[in-house]
Symmetry: C2
Subunit: 85 residues, 2 copies
């Protein structure tokens, strides 16, 4: 089966996000003063073949731990869905 994994990577809450602060200031300058906070993360769509959703879950978790995220400062969540092609 083909599986699409949507992976969301964000900085841990305790880690400062200077990029997010810069975007907040830029939004304020553009008259979006209603914005109180911005946190910037990464979003990845990984297509893979797997025997089952459990198998895909194990693979995606492994990829995130080994390559896609920095576990010292980042955390991740993901969603899996079966795709046709």
């Amino acid at each position: 089966m083909n599986v699409l994994a949507k992976i969301f990577v964000t900085l841990k809450d305790s880690v400062l996000d200077p990029q997010g602060k810069a975007v907040t200031h830029a939004l304020h300058a553009l008259k979006y003063g209603a914005v109180s906070d911005v946190r910037i993360g990464k979003y990845m769509e990984v297509t893979l073949s797997a025997n089952s959703l459990d198998d895909a879950d194990r693979l995606v978790r492994g990829m995130c731990d080994e390559l896609l995220t920095n576990p010292v400062i980042e955390k991740f969540t993901f969603e899996l869905m079966e795709v046709s092609q």
Copy 2:
């Protein structure tokens, strides 16, 4: 009300994603040969105050058009949810 907007920005399907290709190759080298494609995007969490969810929708759409995304090569989707603090 306080609203949390989760914004997902991805390259349009017609735009090449060299970063995604590089990650695909790195995953193959790490024995994740099951991966057929990777697309890299951005994920942003924006906290803002708004009068209603409709109001928040309008604001977030404006921010994305004016600053957060490049409409020439990127597309975006977002989810809104009310938060307490």
